[in-house]
Symmetry: C2
Subunit: 114 residues, 2 copies
């Protein structure tokens, strides 16, 4: 029954057409990936409290400065944080209003009883 196959194929194509474009989906996944690593999630949480130097973040998270710096580079590339040089130090801050809200929303979910 070739027709049934055809119907399914068409319906699949119709649904496919309703989804966001590949580019948007990819960007969306990239965004959520940022929150999907505990170290990055913690860094973002820290920066919600206040702007911090790299060394301070490392102290708070009890991680090496290098590891933190690598993750800050990733978050910078995703435009979620920005770093400003202040003399020898670099002060990091959130670079996006959505960060707080996305994080908040995730927390709401996580804090719920199943």
């Amino acid at each position: 029954m070739a027709d049934i196959g055809k119907i399914n194929t068409d319906s699949a194509a119709a649904l496919r057409g309703m989804l966001p474009s590949e580019d948007v989906i990819y960007d969306l996944a990239e965004l959520f990936k940022m929150f999907g690593d505990p170290t990055r999630a913690k860094i973002l949480q820290c920066l919600q409290i206040r702007d911090l130097y790299v060394g301070e973040i490392a102290d708070v998270l009890e991680m090496s400065i290098s590891a933190v710096s690598h993750q800050l580079r990733v978050l910078r590339a995703a435009k979620l944080v920005k770093g400003t040089k202040e003399g020898k130090e670099v002060k990091y801050s959130l670079d996006d209003d959505h960060v707080t809200k996305i994080l908040e929303y995730g927390m709401t979910h996580v804090n719920e009883d199943d």
Copy 2:
């Protein structure tokens, strides 16, 4: 100047105390990880439109049934989707109200001009 070191350490500890617990952060990262893969993001978008059988999802995404099934297992484990057996087939649906809102929020961010 040992005092300065002390002050920084204390301040780091203070900040650390303001963060969610390790467990919560870990859960939060796990949640966002689900949205952080394009295949899973697409599956969740599909299921926002309507409930679907595994084969339908595979058709829409133009992926193998096996690949889709593997990701559905992951999403099921995260309690974001649930599958209901209907005869030979299994119909999947979203298992969480937050999914739509989190996805929406991400979309808002992604669709913005920098």
